[in-house]
């Protein structure tokens, strides 16, 4: 199966117009020495029917979340996505389009991105947002570079309560520019603010805080703001879960300079980790240092509002090596999903979904704390995720849960904490029966 349009006869006609006999002649520019002399070692093509069949068969070797009760989170969250989102992004005018270079034929994408930027700005209470970045982790990479450009300093203070993968990506990005990363230790499940207070100095380019943090805890941003604000030219860089902002005070309230985060929660499916949606919102004065594309409103000749890619002098195709980033392709379709998700949920819906997540997580956590041998580590307030410690073996807990079709949480031994525990996440998709099932299994283990 291929998707080639010309018929053999048409090919002949075209070759004649070009003035060659055979297609091979068109490749005569390739020296024989490098030319491939045998077919690629790739199996022969198959029909659409076989393709669909084979891939459904491969899918059966996976355990999908549709078959289990999942308490996994840790940066990728299983929220309900209203059916309308996929229906709209499947409009081929959206998903088969390129980056909107020709604005006049791309007003759909452009306006949707403008609306996305506006809603992200509203949600974060920041001045403005870009059109998207590649994912949460790489958005942090871009953000620390940006903070360093703005502050003209190299020292980045990163809390250990930040997602370990994000810290890794930030290091990968920052190292190239000689950035120095200093990790702030944990106090229970939040940033040790005494350490922050001790460590921060005038050489600090930025302090990076996640909110809610990797353990689900809500960092005390007021105190953090108070610690940072005496220092001039030290940026507060917040990594936020935008869905939590339905319930929690927004970064703009704490004087954040740059806000980034993972927008997957806003209407993108889990998809084993990608494509996700890196977003970035900043203070207005940093606009020209911001990476990524931006859509702006303007007017056409008749005074009608229209939208264009703008502020392009920051970008690679204009500024080349002097650009604020190399980003070109971003995550426009995920940004569209987010715009649709935020529109359909709206003010009330985003609040309600955040509240349900929080209330259900607290229900589960509060009851876990009553089961001997199990303990929720988080001492401070948390949103919809918490760290579960146990006197029993984590493997045993995972196994007992798994037997009953439950994925108990993310085993944090895979990260760099040198701690044991399960990071347990509860979204609005989990119902009372499922939460009680979780408790029952823990009780059974406890009662053994």
């Amino acid at each position: 199966m291929d998707y080639i349009a010309n018929t053999p006869q048409e090919k002949e006609e075209m070759l004649a117009a070009i003035g060659v006999q055979k297609i091979a002649e068109l490749f005569s520019g390739i020296p024989r020495k490098v030319k491939l002399d045998c077919p690629l070692d790739i199996p022969a093509g198959i029909s659409e029917m076989e393709l669909a069949h084979d891939l459904k068969e491969i899918a059966q070797k996976n355990l999908s979340l549709g078959e289990v009760i999942s308490f996994l989170g840790a940066g990728a969250y299983d929220h309900y996505i209203p059916a309308i989102v996929d229906h709209l992004i499947l409009r081929s005018e959206f998903y088969t389009a390129y980056t909107p270079y020709q604005a006049e034929l791309s007003q759909g994408t452009l306006q949707a991105v403008y609306e996305y930027q506006s809603m992200i700005s509203d949600l974060t209470a920041m001045d403005l947002a870009n059109a998207s970045l590649l994912d949460g982790g790489s958005a942090l990479g871009e953000a620390v570079l940006m903070a360093s450009r703005i502050s003209r300093k190299k020292k980045i203070l990163i809390s250990q309560s930040l997602h370990p993968a994000y810290r890794e990506v930030a290091r990968t990005y920052g190292r190239q520019q000689g950035l120095e990363f200093i990790q702030l230790q944990l106090n229970n499940t939040v940033t040790d603010l005494l350490e922050l207070d001790k460590t921060i100095d005038q050489e600090t380019a930025a302090v990076v805080i996640q909110y809610p943090n990797f353990f689900g805890s809500i960092e005390d941003m007021n105190r953090i703001e108070n610690i940072i604000s005496p220092y001039k030219n030290v940026l507060l860089l917040m990594v936020v879960n935008p869905l939590a902002l339905g319930l929690l005070r927004p970064p703009g309230d704490f004087g954040a300079d740059i806000v980034i985060g993972e927008g997957q929660v806003l209407g993108s499916p889990l998809n084993y980790g990608g494509p996700y949606l890196g977003f970035m919102a900043v203070k207005k004065r940093y606009l020209r240092q911001m990476p990524g594309r931006v859509v702006g409103a303007t007017t056409d000749e008749s005074g009608k509002r229209g939208f264009v890619l703008t502020m392009q002098t920051r970008e690679q195709h204009i500024r080349r090596e002097k650009a604020t980033s190399n980003i070109c392709t971003n995550e426009a379709l995920n940004a569209l999903s987010a715009a649709i998700y935020m529109s359909i949920m709206g003010r009330q819906g985003l609040r309600e979904v955040a509240e349900q997540c929080c209330k259900k997580a607290h229900y589960l956590a509060n009851r876990i704390n009553k089961i001997p041998g199990f303990k929720v580590v988080n001492k401070s307030d948390y949103f919809h995720e918490f760290l579960l410690e146990t006197d029993y073996s984590i493997d045993k807990v995972k196994k007992e849960m798994s037997k009953r079709g439950v994925i108990a949480g993310v085993d944090i031994s895979r990260f760099d904490y040198k701690k044991e525990g399960l990071l347990v996440c509860v979204t609005e998709k989990r119902n009372r029966g499922e939460l009680d099932k979780y408790l029952t299994v823990l009780e059974a283990i406890s009662g053994e």
Partner: protein
């Protein structure tokens, strides 16, 4: 009339969402949490489902995609996106997967990723591939970090990356982001690498030459092995920008041209849709001596078991929170599986045939700055038309009036008034002829009725937009 913004349909209290009734005992979050954490105001629109459906449906109708017609954006390979791949990417068992599920529960998907990696290695002649980068530029950046790490491990601090003047803007930008200095290499009069100039530029401080072949003019660098020799001669590496892979599949492989590493654009060559600007996917392929630097984790196969390996002490680290743009990768996998070796070769043949056909038909009307044989794309210049008073931008906008998307314009920078045209293999002769006729017609209009071209577009829902105003007085949100 301007199209209203979604916010303008909002009405306080309107609801388009539904959630289950809370089935755990309700609690007052102002008591459960510190009330200072609780948000008081949230400005998002309030709409019903029909409002949302109509608004975004209407927006979509103001957009042009590959399903709307030819999309001859040079360097972007805007080929048709098969519908079956959209369905495959939505199979529950392939999509509803959490990145922290255990490897043993995901052997199906890991097998897909592993096979695709191998397919890409085979197509490119590389030894190992990472699927982690989420876009082409991300792939470039990853590759440049690998180069940096490689030299660091060798105890060298090479600073220079050589980039031809015809290169994509992402090349120098990625190099800079990876902490390199960019040195520009001027093309020769045939639009190709000037070996002498290259020899003059490279030295022991040269980390790599970034190249795409065929280059952005669509011309194959015949002296590629000599280029490689020069770069390798000073100990530098040769990097392949995979944007133009559609021109060579089954005919020649970067690995065989002595490139050391490269990136792919799955959203170009392997037909995944571009989504109005992403998501894409930019895997990186490397020769064996560079494999230890690939981002972690790396997917390996032990017996028949696929697993992620995290212990990679030489790795540059992570460039993505998880494993890359998985569902884009799924589509590319399906595409390669459907086509097979033979199909991929045919793709290249037809992409090249279409481009050459169009070039043959247009080169007498528009100036062809480089006469060299070209492959899947070619670059014209509207210099003749410019003399008469119409710019490339005018021509591009006039094309829109005829319901066709414009080529890439003003790129590569080495060509004045450039029109970079890449029809791709999924267009047929009828569509090509229509585009050719339109281009010829516009040239005639420039002779007979230039104003209609200079004031284009006329037929689009929106007229020429004030980009200067957009940049001077940024209006980036409501």
């Amino acid at each position: 009339m301007s199209k209203p913004l979604i916010k303008e349909y909002s009405s306080p209290g309107r609801k388009g969402y539904s959630l289950p009734t809370l089935d755990v005992p309700d609690i007052n979050l102002e008591e459960e949490l510190n009330p200072k954490f609780i948000r008081q105001q949230l400005d998002l629109p309030e709409l019903s489902e029909v409002d949302v459906a109509r608004h975004f449906t209407s927006l979509s109708q103001k957009n042009y995609g590959v399903d709307s017609g030819i999309y001859p954006l040079g360097s972007c390979t805007m080929k048709y996106n098969p519908k079956i791949n959209e369905d495959i990417a939505r199979i529950e068992g392939l999509s509803n997967l959490h990145p922290y599920q255990e490897d043993k529960d995901l052997q199906g998907s890991l097998k897909i990723l592993y096979e695709l990696k191998n397919n890409l290695a085979e197509i490119s002649g590389m030894d190992e591939v990472t699927l982690q980068p989420a876009s082409g530029a991300h792939g470039e950046l990853t590759a440049l970090m690998i180069i940096k790490q490689y030299f660091k491990d060798k105890g060298e601090e090479r600073k220079k990356i050589v980039v031809p003047d015809s290169a994509h803007g992402t090349n120098p930008a990625s190099a800079a982001m990876a902490g390199f200095e960019v040195v520009e290499l001027k093309s020769n009069e045939r639009g190709m690498i000037d070996l002498d100039k290259l020899r003059g530029l490279v030295d022991e401080d040269t980390a790599a030459l970034m190249l795409t072949n065929p280059n952005t003019l669509g011309i194959f660098e015949r002296e590629i092995l000599e280029v490689a020799e020069i770069v390798h001669g000073v100990g530098g590496l040769l990097y392949y920008d995979g944007a133009n892979m559609n021109a060579i599949m089954g005919y020649v492989r970067p690995g065989d041209m002595d490139f050391d590493l490269m990136h792919f654009n799955l959203h170009k060559t392997f037909s995944t849709p571009h989504g109005g600007g992403g998501p894409g996917s930019g895997p990186v392929g490397v020769k064996k001596f560079l494999t230890s630097y690939l981002p972690k984790p790396v997917l390996i196969k032990e017996g028949n078991f696929f697993k992620w390996e995290y212990h990679r002490p030489h790795s540059i680290g992570r460039v993505h929170s998880f494993y890359g743009n998985y569902s884009v990768i799924l589509r590319a996998y399906a595409y390669i599986k459907a086509l097979g070796a033979d199909g991929l070769r045919k793709v290249t043949e037809n992409a090249v045939l279409n481009a050459n056909y169009m070039k043959a038909k247009l080169k007498d009307v528009y100036y062809l700055p480089y006469e060299e044989d070209s492959l899947h794309e070619f670059v014209l210049s509207a210099s003749k038309q410019k003399e008469k008073g119409a710019t490339t931008l005018n021509i591009a906008k006039r094309l829109l009036d005829y319901g066709q998307y414009a080529p890439t314009i003003y790129f590569p920078l080495v060509v004045k008034e450039a029109l970079m045209i890449e029809p791709t293999e999924t267009e047929n002769i009828t569509t090509l002829n229509k585009f050719i006729a339109t281009m010829i017609n516009i040239s005639r209009e420039i002779e007979n009725n230039i104003e209609i071209v200079k004031n284009a577009p006329h037929n689009t829902t929106i007229k020429k937009l004030d980009e200067v105003k957009a940049a001077r007085k940024p209006d980036l949100r409501w």
